[in-house]
């Protein structure tokens, strides 16, 4: 990111003179907003409650340490989502009348879990399932919180996969089948690899959403970044820890967001090059 030309390309600007214009207009706009905020009547109180420097330096390391749990939840959930969602997408695409019930179930799954607000799934699973006291079923809030995220995000990611699978031209499957490959082999070697390549950017987009939704697990009790901020805030009667948590979440998602942009730009360049040839 040291190359300013590349940075401005990614952010949608131009080079040279337009960079200067972009910088100037940015300063003006943000300067004006800052001026309005700082000169407002309530600013001294807001500054004390949300932007207290002592509170900031006190809470930052604690919230940062708690953020480790968010990252763990994210990484574990991500792996399961990638596998689970692909299975659902494939089940939903099975042809023929025999598989109608399977398709129906897969469709119902994506409809239900995209329909229920994530916060409700976390509550229902996190408080409901452990209360059943079933033997052999984990009762940890962390487990059910993560499971909720897996269930919800798998529904979204399954749809992303499905769009990718449907975007692979049927002639590719025909070519594979005509060589004697089975339907499963055609999916595995020919269709899914091409589909996954095409959906990496929207997939990462969903994962950016997942990164910040890890905070919802806090509702069940585990002390992750948001919950830690809440605890400090409640004892110090100050909202600055929330600002700290917000900044840390932004810092967490930005690398993935820029990486996604970069992938999209690369993919477009590759396609354009292919079109010229």
């Amino acid at each position: 990111m040291n190359d300013p030309g590349r940075a401005s390309r990614i952010l949608g600007g131009g080079a040279g003179r337009s960079t200067a214009i972009a910088t100037a207009s940015t300063l003006v706009v943000f300067g004006a907003i800052a001026l309005i905020v700082v000169t407002s009547t309530g600013w001294p109180e807001v500054k004390q409650a949300f932007f207290n420097w002592d509170e900031f330096t006190y809470s930052f390391p604690k919230v940062l340490r708690a953020l480790k749990l968010n990252i763990e939840i994210f990484l574990i959930a991500e792996v399961f989502i990638l596998i689970f969602a692909l299975a659902i997408a494939i089940l939903r695409g099975l042809p023929g009348p025999v598989f109608f019930p399977v398709r129906l179930l897969a469709t119902a799954y994506t409809d239900v879990f995209r329909g229920i607000p994530t916060i409700l799934v976390v509550y229902l699973l996190g408080f409901g399932v452990p209360a059943l006291q079933l033997s052999g079923v984990p009762s940890s809030e962390l487990f059910w919180g993560t499971a909720s995220l897996v269930l919800v995000y798998s529904a979204y990611v399954a749809e992303v996969y499905r769009a990718g699978i449907e975007s692979v031209h049927p002639s590719q499957d025909a070519a594979a089948r005509s060589l004697g490959l089975t339907r499963a082999q055609s999916l595995r070697f020919v269709v899914v690899p091409q589909a996954v390549r095409r959906v990496v950017p929207p997939l990462l987009n969903d994962f950016i959403g997942l990164q910040k939704d890890t905070a919802l697990v806090a509702l069940l009790g585990p002390v992750e970044a948001f919950r830690e901020a809440q605890i400090i805030s409640a004892s110090d009667f100050n909202y600055t820890p929330y600002v700290v948590a917000a900044l840390l979440f932004i810092a967490l998602t930005i690398p993935l967001a820029r990486f996604t942009d970069w992938l999209i730009a690369r993919e477009r360049k590759r396609r354009l090059a292919g079109g010229v040839r």
Binding site: G180, L181, Q194
Partner: protein, 248 residues
């Protein structure tokens, strides 16, 4: 000569549209049959039915004595024995040339990687493309891609090859290299059904030419007879249009 493939009263409809209205066709081993006819006459559908990519509505297809349209037949096993090459090549764009050619031999026939690659390089060498082994298909010209597609089908050592207008998507200067490869296959004794718009090629290579019209084989015979003295009026009209277009 023994019979390689036989179609009996094959019917195929898409929705309300009856594309094949009773096709009867038999090929001996080593025979090359060219299908000619206007677009939409059913040539592609006929080939896709022989390869069981499309289930037929009525009739039978017998390959090497086995009725492949009988219920319970393993479609994958049948397709292994029949190679098909498409108009749009349909190479796998995410795989190198070598992987395109070795995928099915390894996964379907169970060849080891070394065996499959040795065979693929031998075949690619024969068409002068061994040095393209590690390239992706989009780096190749259309003619090269189509020749790789033919080799990919050959790598399964098929008993029958179906070629579906394999030169129609090519620039004119690239047609010859593909036709020459097909000619070599014919000389090598490969049994083939070839749907084509290249009339001079058909005349040259075919043991028999079938003129398809509205889903039936309206006329068939030796190429000299079909091209020089067609009996049916529709055949005459079709060939006249082709001649006007400068394709004969």
């Amino acid at each position: 000569m023994s019979e390689a493939v036989r179609l009996e009263d094959v019917h195929k409809s898409f929705e309300r549209n009856e594309v094949l209205r009773g096709i009867d066709l038999a090929l001996s081993e080593h025979e090359v049959v060219c299908l000619i006819g206007a677009s939409g006459s059913g040539k592609s559908t006929l080939l896709r039915c022989v390869n069981l990519l499309e289930p037929i509505d009525r009739g039978r297809i017998v390959v090497e004595g086995q009725e492949v349209t009988a219920p319970g037949v393993d479609l994958n096993a049948v397709r292994r024995r029949i190679g098909i090459v498409f108009q749009a090549y349909n190479l796998f764009p995410h795989m190198t040339v070598l992987r395109n050619v070795t995928l099915a031999p390894r996964e379907v026939l169970g060849l080891s990687r070394a065996e499959a690659e040795a065979q693929a390089l031998e075949l690619l060498g024969r068409i002068g493309l061994a040095d393209k082994r590690d390239d992706y298909p989009d780096r190749l010209s259309g003619g090269q891609q189509q020749r790789v597609a033919i080799v990919r089908a050959l790598a399964m050592r098929p008993q029958l090859m179906l070629l579906d207008e394999v030169t129609s998507a090519l620039d004119p200067e690239l047609v010859a290299e593909v036709l020459n490869l097909i000619r070599e296959l014919a000389e090598g004794g490969m049994t083939m059904i070839i749907a084509t718009h290249e009339m001079s090629f058909a005349r040259d290579i075919a043991n028999r030419v079938c003129f398809l019209d509205a889903g039936v084989i309206l006329e068939e015979g030796r190429p000299e007879q079909i091209f020089s003295a067609p009996r049916e009026e529709r055949t005459q009209q079709f060939l006249a249009r082709i001649t006007e277009a400068g394709r004969l």
